[in-house]
């Protein structure tokens, strides 16, 4: 009986979770006139025009490419600097380690709005405005601390006897780290990569401020085009649906790592 109640509760929760997304999908398959003309739970006359427009207009689809480029760069940078640091935090005591660890997390506490102007000036100085790398580096502000934090958790779950044994067997640190340790925390790296991807993909304020045209993220493209053409709800919804696709693909690929990571209880 309790089992059944639990399932009904879950079904309701997932229903509520998916309803707004379904509604956007529904809108994206209708023309603007159709949307404003009448209310329909299921599109009566579905059309792919909105999607066609996005895929054929470079000012639309380049936004997706830009976002994917800087998000990927950010994920790679975050992981490669966070891996050794997380190892240090999980294995060693050193001068100021605890303070350093908490300080890292404090960087997530600064309102991104605070950094808008200084970032703009900093990156202007180096001529990096409107480049993918500028956005990627600025997103390290919140992704690197998070990556360190998550990876440290996973690494602490690996017994230190493994390290000791490898060193006794004459492994050098880089060789041990690359061939033994990293494969052991594969799931953790998958989960971390997912979180880095996610937070970089969804961030708008910094990405929008640091770019003008060449590296403009899709999220910013949406706000611009919408305000310029009046509100085309169908097109807006189609663009919105397409912003979910890359994330959904990524999570589909890491789902097994996620499940494994979750089984270890480390996020």
């Amino acid at each position: 009986m309790t089992l059944r109640k639990r399932h009904i509760g879950l079904l309701i929760y997932f229903g509520v979770l998916l309803l707004p997304i379904y509604w956007m999908l529904n809108m994206s398959l209708r023309t603007n006139a159709d949307i404003l003309g009448g209310f329909a739970f299921v599109p009566t006359d579905p059309t792919l025009d909105n999607y066609l427009k996005i895929f054929t207009d470079p000012s639309w689809y380049s936004g997706y490419i830009n976002s994917i480029i800087y998000v990927s760069i950010n994920t790679v940078i975050s992981l490669s600097v966070a891996l050794p640091a997380a190892y240090a935090f999980s294995r060693y005591r050193f001068f100021g380690d605890k303070h350093m660890f908490f300080w890292l997390l404090t960087n997530r506490m600064a309102p991104p709005a605070v950094f808008l102007l200084p970032f703009f000036q900093l990156y202007s100085t180096f001529g990096l405005i409107d480049t993918h790398i500028a956005v990627a580096i600025s997103h390290c502000l919140f992704n690197v601390p998070l990556a360190v934090w998550i990876l440290e958790g996973f690494m602490s779950g690996v017994p230190r006897e493994i390290d000791e044994m490898a060193y006794m067997d004459g492994y050098s640190f880089p060789r041990f780290f690359g061939t033994i340790f990293v494969p052991l925390i594969r799931s953790g790296i998958g989960v971390t990569a997912f979180f880095c991807f996610m937070f970089s993909w969804v961030e708008l304020l910094l990405a929008r401020t640091l770019t003008t045209t060449d590296a403009k993220p899709i999220a910013a493209t949406m706000t611009r085009t919408v305000s310029a053409t009046g509100l085309d709800w169908g097109l807006l919804a189609a663009a919105g649906v397409l912003t979910i696709v890359p994330g959904a693909l990524v999570i589909w690929f890491v789902r097994n790592h996620m499940a494994k990571g979750f089984a270890l209880g480390r996020v």
């Binding site: 956007m24 404003l36 309102p111 709005a113 600025s138 601390p145 912003t243 999570i251």
Partner: protein
Amino acid sequence: MDKWQDNRAWFMVLPVFAIVAISAIIPLMTVVNYSVQDIFGPGQRVFVGTEWFKEVLTNSRLHDAFIRQLIFSTLVLVIEIPLGVLVALALPKRGWGVPVSLVLLALPLLIPWNVIGTIWIIFTRPDIGLFGAAINGLGISFDHTANPLDAWVTVMLMEVWHWTPLVVLLAYAGLRAIPEAYFQAARIDGASAWATFRYIQLPKMRGVLTIAVLLRFMDSFLIYAEPFVLTGGGPGNATTFLSIHLVKMAVGQFDLGPAAAFSLIYFLIVLLFSWLFYQALQNVGTGDKGGGR
């Protein structure tokens, strides 16, 4: 087990330190610099000391935004944490349901924040939105663009919809880490579901819940894009949270000095609260990590 003592570990932390320093310390110094000067234009600036801080601390519109922000973040924590734990408890533990649930749960988290706002505009508008039309169809007049209470309800719904899955994912991870033997022991002792939760599951989730509370507190306190897109901070100033106010000041009115001073105070508030939460949660109960420092 004690960690190895070795200060050379600093070399491994150095890259992280360098990259976060570039993107945090240098900009923060710029903000500090602005906060004590009056800037008229390039090269024209006057040192004004703590004037901006005084102005910001006595600004009544900021006080209102701060109170709004506090209420908002409190509601977020009070609703999302228990709901997230509840859903996590109900999730399947094995089988095909696990990956499907995880993927579905992660979906809202992967949507860019301004698109979240867009989704909820489309969803709640009285004319084209499913939710808006349904509520109005029930005879309750609902319009988040005109009525402050409706705007709050919509923003809260959006926030709970958007972020509860994060709490669920974290809590679920914590639950999965509990060895099956604990539950067998509880079953043998004839423990009720509540007792199992209270004395086994809840204490074991302390670590992940700490992260969940901290993340939810920080991010809800810094919320910007979603309510900005949904309501633009209105109607009136009803949903003008601190970040929205800050961006209005810094970008809209170009009041760099006050905006910088406000930024620093804002940052310190978040820091203080997070530290308090961190300390409190570290010392609650007796966990396997030994209760903090």
